[in-house]
């Protein structure tokens, strides 16, 4: 199984991730004659948003957006010139396009690509509050994954809390399969509504998107799902069995609580920057979305020639925008490899650019509305921030007092971010805590220096690389 030797393969373009951006990029590049290798950890295309879209047992009930994804996935699935590698992990990726892949059976492939499109999408923003590590607390996104792939229906007593459109979507999807949530406890700060109102023009352009959201909320009201807004000071408490039993929160100047056996939490999504960070690419702090994004050109081009980012990994824009960004990056990659000239590239970019602008118009409104408040991202001392190494917010603040000025010193000092999740679950929170403690912008505090392997691999798997010619 692991005693083999790594294989070396080559291609024109490697696409990492087969969500909307990756699928659209791969299809567009293959149409232009590029040999494409598209890689995904899942066993089917679709990414998170269109997860299992070609085979989901509940696809019909997940709505027309999911149906749009099915058409894209079908085109991707049928396109010639794409080698589709599912169940495959990218564990290393170098600045010159050499990619270490691990297949399902632990076989190692060294893929040498002339261009790379990173389409690794988004991660749910970590949402640390007292009790968030209790059994029975999970993210709304993971609950949705269960819904989409296995139609596993969570037990009775489901409560959703946090902020962002996904909360309503998941609640509605639960209704669809006959589960009525016990409550939706919304944390969106009241001031956000006023801030968002300033972006009404963009909101008007995105009326269709907003209408969908309003319809969801209306459905939940009709179904008499209790909805609370402006909640702060969340804490989850365990019952006698050690699992979550109730959610406590402040609202309207009073402490309240609601019983639950499954607590779904969500605080929006943020770009997955693991690969772009590990390549040392420049990143900017997006104050509107409270997250990092890689610095990109208009084609999704990065500071490294031949390496592009498309989709939510470059900044949250949603599935439809991601698709267009995938097409633009594919055009730029094809131009770079000499398949089309610049004029042709620009001509073909016209339609995706207009579509992209249309899909992004609503973002300033949504960003302002769902920007998490300090309460949601800078937890109290006793809250565990790094779940792998069980480091609390208080320990991080003590490190700052001891002279640790940024996340990397904190990491070296108390191991936050050193566990198997490689900082995915705590990175943003640690930067926010340090920035708040030092009274300086997150942009100046910085982020973990991320190192490859991007995902854990075994010693036996890595050893396969030894014999490969350099």
């Amino acid at each position: 199984m692991t005693d083999g030797m790594a294989r070396v393969e080559t291609c024109d373009l490697a696409v990492i991730g087969t969500g909307p951006a990756g699928m659209a990029a791969a299809v567009a590049a293959a149409e232009l004659g590029l040999s494409v290798v598209a890689v995904d950890e899942q066993s089917v295309p679709g990414g998170q948003i269109y997860r299992n879209v070609l085979a989901s047992p509940v696809a019909a009930r997940l709505g027309p957006d999911y149906g749009h994804g099915a058409a894209l996935a079908a085109a991707f699935d049928a396109a010639e010139g794409i080698s589709r590698r599912y169940g495959t992990t990218v564990w290393t990726l170098s600045a010159d396009g050499e990619i270490g892949l691990r297949g399902e059976r632990g076989d190692i492939v060294l893929l040498r690509a002339k261009a790379v499109i990173l389409a690794t999408g988004a991660l749910e923003r970590p949402m640390p509050f007292p009790g968030w590590t209790l059994p029975g607390v999970m993210t709304a996104g993971s609950a949705q994954i269960l819904l989409k792939s296995a139609a596993v229906v969570p037990a009775d007593g489901v409560v959703l809390t946090g902020s962002g459109p996904l909360l309503y979507l998941v609640a509605a999807q639960l209704l669809d399969i006959g589960v009525r949530p016990g409550a939706i406890v919304e944390t969106t700060p009241g001031a956000n509504y006023r801030a968002a109102a300033r972006h009404w023009r963009g909101a008007a352009h995105g009326a269709a998107t907003l209408l969908k959201g309003l319809k969801l909320i209306a459905r939940l009201r009709v179904a008499r799902v209790p909805m609370v807004s402006g909640a702060t000071g969340l804490s989850a408490e365990a019952g006698a069995d050690g699992a979550v039993a109730r959610l406590k929160y402040h609202c309207g100047g009073r402490e309240r609580s609601v019983a639950c056996s499954l607590l779904l939490v969500h605080q929006g999504v943020v770009p997955n920057v693991q690969i772009s960070r590990s390549l040392d690419l420049p990143h900017d702090w997006d104050a509107a979305q409270r997250c990092w994004r890689p610095r990109l050109g208009e084609w999704g081009d990065t500071a490294l020639p031949g390496i592009f980012v498309a989709g939510d990994g470059g900044g949250i824009g949603g599935a439809l925008a991601a698709e267009e960004q995938g097409r633009l990056a594919a055009l730029a990659a094809a131009c770079r490899l000499g398949r089309i000239d610049e004029q042709e590239r620009n001509r073909r970019a016209d339609a995706p650019r207009r579509a992209l602008a249309h899909h992004l118009a609503v973002r300033p409104f949504l960003d302002a509305l769902y920007r998490p408040g300090d309460d949601a991202v800078v937890p109290a001392d006793e809250v565990v921030v790094c779940r792998c190494e069980e480091v609390t917010a208080g320990e991080i603040r003590r490190c700052v007092v001891d002279g640790c000025v940024g996340p990397n010193q904190v990491k070296s000092f108390i191991r936050s971010g050193m566990g198997p999740c490689q900082g995915r679950m705590c990175g943003l929170t640690v930067s926010e805590i340090i920035a708040a403690a030092r009274g300086m912008p997150v942009a100046d505090v910085g982020y973990y220096r991320l190192r490859q392997p991007l995902k854990p691999i075994t010693l036996g798997e890595l050893a396969q690389l030894e014999e490969v010619a350099q």
Binding site: T2, T92, S94, A95, G100, D280, D402, G403, V405, G406, Q409, S412, F413, M418, G419, P420, Q422, R451, Q452, P453, P456, I457, T458, L459, G460, L462, A463, Q464, L465, E466, V468, Q470
Partner: protein, 376 residues
Amino acid sequence: MSTPFPASRRPDAIVVGGGLHGSSTAFHLAARHGLKALLLEQTYPGRHASGVNAGGVRTLGRILPEIPLSLASMEIWHRLPELIGDDCGFVHSAQVKVAESEADMETLRARDVELRALGYTHEKLLDAETLRELLPAVSRHVVGGAVAENDGCAIPFRAVTGFRRAAERLGAEVRSNWRVERIERTGEMWRVSGPAGTAEAPLLAICAGAWGDKISAQVGEPVPLNPEAPMLLITERITPFLAPVVGTTSRRLSFKQYPNGTVLIGGGYRGIADRDSERTILKFSGLATNVRVVCELFPLMKTVRIVRAWSGIEGVMPDAIPVLGPSLKAPDLVYGFGYSSHGFQMGPIGGRIVADLVATGKTNLPIEAFSIGRFA
């Protein structure tokens, strides 16, 4: 111990480099000589070799001239809490070097004869059976080994921080993001300058690791230092199976399990070091060789997952021993750098020697072999 100096007191000595040696120097200047140090660090203390090394605290297998210093340093490691009020994560555990063949065993026997002739007893030979008692999981092909029972390991960044904070408590001033680009002697003073400004003091210590040669060259003492990036990796937590730190005799390996169950693997396989940007690039082909050796020695490791890999920048001298001692060309200038990727254990004593030399011009340990004069 002395009391902190008034904040207004001007520094007696500038220490260039905020790694373990620089921090230890600043601490010993205050603790032993009542001198106030201004410690200047180009990024933040412990950013490079000092903070990200394998954490081995090893007297085993030292190059002969280093042995007296290494043994003296070991004594300090064992009493850090009373000295600096922090144990730096130091855990006492044996260091073992395994012999994988009769030829390896012969090498270890020759070393043993040599050490005993010089009167050293800190290393002992192990037969196959005793070795297996120490390392039950080791592969059957191992025929014996050598052990230093008084050794151990520590947590690198904590060690740097422990010495830095102890120095600060005694009145040392530490400046981060203060890169020293130029040094000049003006009258009785050393003046150092860089993008952050200028600073002056009568005494100057250079503990700048992989950047030390850039300073020594300015007083006419260039040295052939090579910046290198030895790579390390660490695994997920697994059931404890290994107490000693393990090395090999004819291949390269450093292998240990921390109390939390993670296993650290090194061996000096090189990534790419870029000294100017202060960055390193990993080369997984080298790490592949590294883990192949591990899998051969400890077959149970094959299915264990690697969680992280990293590297730091080390200053390596052609003869693999540091530049440690006074400048031969300029007064009141002392060097302690270029520890060639085995300087962590030497940090406590290296800083004490530099502090003693800076303050008194003398040390009671033999340092002739490390003189910068060997490159003149």
